[in-house]
Symmetry: C2
Subunit: 339 residues, 2 copies
DNA sequence: TTGAAAGCGCTAACAG
DNA sequence: CTGTTAGCGCTTTCAA
């Protein structure tokens, strides 16, 4: 991978020579802070014209090296394989660029070691700030960055050493569960408990969702049994396997279920197809996540969509110091209405 | 966004002072090229230990500024909202890191101006190479980069000024169309023409797929009418609208269809739901793209999955100069077998 | 209104 | 085996 080069890249010295002026004048003009230096607009125009003709491009490495702030902002993200993280990344990039920041993004595939390695790489690139999205060990990232004087913000999954922006998992799960319970009641003529599928029991989001799930049951006077709560991880295969085991153990499965993500839902639907379990009557499903194809899958699925625009607004409120004291911001997700 | 700082970051001079040696020794040791300098392993160990204790992180800006190669590699990508580009980005990142390259990725939302702006930003960060994925105007990117001595590779959509790695759109479409035609024949007892929905008629991939579509028809002795080819763009709404117009014009729609992407398929399925058009008998569908939820949508959908691992292998073959002469590499996509 | 010059942290040639 | 030194391209004071 050798640079084709020969054509050395132009520097401000080249431009200065061409314009018959100095490098500092060129620098000032090209940075837009030339009123302060009261450079004649004639010179300024000339410099800009020459820079243009020469196809000059600022060398950011040199610029950052000299300045105290890099204007580089990092984001760590677990996966690109679902709409939720996809839209987070896409919007983060756009918002960063709007503010004149340069975003660098690393996908760590839920691997804690990769997360740390990625954070270290970002520090080497002098990032001003890093957003740890859905990190398995956000506090370790925060501590590493703090040692270099770099702040972090947690997104999606909270940490205790840095401000966090997450969904209101309890309220969202409460509302979603209520709806699925109501759908079941409408269909069966009586209240029945649901099962809960997917997620890690140890993570904050899942435990809050389980709490919302339980609360909705209590509201109508029932208590879901413990073995109906399958916090079996995020992979589709895990969900499939858990359902299989539960079905073998109990025979019949509940008519309704709360599924913790589209990834888990993939496994659930696949198992339903393969096992033929719900062949006489389709189950009522609530999914804490959104995907447009899932919305087309059938009328028996309710979804809750995490409010990515609001979440990122909150993140940038913190970055821009508009929200100084908040430690935990919870954003209510959107309950999708059936088409 | 002010650095919390105070704690100045450690430099190799700090480490050198602590270790009682010189900055160049520290640099050599930390870069791993110290056999060449035959530094005593005692000193080396000491330096490494101290660097570790002090939480030293290399300043990449300084390092890149000094070296001739940055080891930074850029990728431009249109969207994060489907599995295809998601897996391209995820795998690209992993492969780049394996090779000691630092990936920077920019999502340009199919906006040609953003593509150029992104390329320019990458040049400022001294990238060694940029991959233009699904770019609307790849040659403009190539020319801009070439002027700075930076090479580019096109992925997904070809350009004529740089090597390109794309799917074998013709063969893939041919095979997919054959399957849908066969499914229709099996169901209806006779050969019928399909319609083609989605994509831009002007882009290389779409026109190759249309060619494959036509060829498969000719093989069984039929010619699809021109007005059944709806290259209406990639947005779901466009597909929906085109179907509506066609249905109004013709009354009945063909029993089978070739859909150019999952994004278009979203619009197709939605229209089918809303219009009730295929309510007596589900249509036979072939989709040139893959999504796991689509696979679960029903048994009447055939899919072709572009072979992302092979495509990226080809890209890195070019980067690593293992494939010097090739101008266009076409990778056969995978025909998914029905579950 | 402008230019000269110092130095950001690192690498690599050169001189011990 | 190790240290000294000269920049990489840019920003920013300071002096004119």
């Amino acid at each position: 991978m050798k640079r084709v080069s020969q054509a050395k890249r132009k520097t401000i010295y080249d431009l200065a020579a061409l314009a018959g002026t100095s490098a500092s004048a060129v620098s000032a003009v090209l940075n837009g802070n030339w009123k302060k230096r009261r450079i004649s607009s004639q010179l300024a125009e000339k410099i800009i014209r020459i820079a243009d003709e020469q196809g000059y491009a600022l060398n950011m490495q040199a610029s950052v090296l000299r300045r105290d702030r890099s204007n580089i902002i990092g984001m760590i993200v677990p996966k690109y394989d679902n709409r939720y993280f996809g839209s987070i990344v896409e919007r983060f990039e756009a918002m960063a660029r709007e503010r004149g920041l340069f975003p660098i993004i690393t996908c760590t595939r839920r691997d804690p070691d990769l997360e740390i390695e990625a954070a270290r790489a970002m520090l080497s690139y002098q990032v001003d700030c890093v957003i740890a999205t859905g990190a398995t060990d956000p506090d370790r990232i925060t501590d590493l960055c703090a040692a270099a004087g770099v702040r972090t913000i947690n997104l999606d999954l909270p940490g205790s050493h840095a401000p966090s922006v997450i969904s209101d998992n309890f309220q969202g799960a409460l509302e979603l569960t209520r709806r699925v319970l109501a759908n079941c009641e409408r269909e069966l003529g009586q209240n029945v408990p649901l099962m809960f599928v997917g997620g890690r029991g140890t993570d904050h989001n899942t435990s809050e969702r389980v709490r919302g799930f339980r609360t909705a049951h209590h509201e109508i006077g029932i208590t879901p049994e413990e073995d109906l709560i399958l916090a079996c991880g995020y992979a589709p295969e895990k969900a499939e396997q858990s359902l299989k085991v539960l079905a073998e153990k109990r025979g019949a499965l509940p008519h309704g279920m709360f599924v913790n993500s589209t990834i888990s839902l993939e496994g659930v639907i696949r198992w339903i197809r393969r096992s033929g379990h719900y062949s006489e009557r389709k189950p009522q499903i609530g999914c804490f996540d959104f995907d447009p194809f899932v919305a087309l899958l059938g009328e028996n699925i309710e979804m809750v969509r995490q409010d990515v625009p609001k979440m990122l607004d909150a993140v940038f409120d913190i970055i821009d110091n508009r929200n100084p004291e908040q430690k935990l911001v919870e954003i209510m997700p959107i309950v999708e209405t059936m088409a």
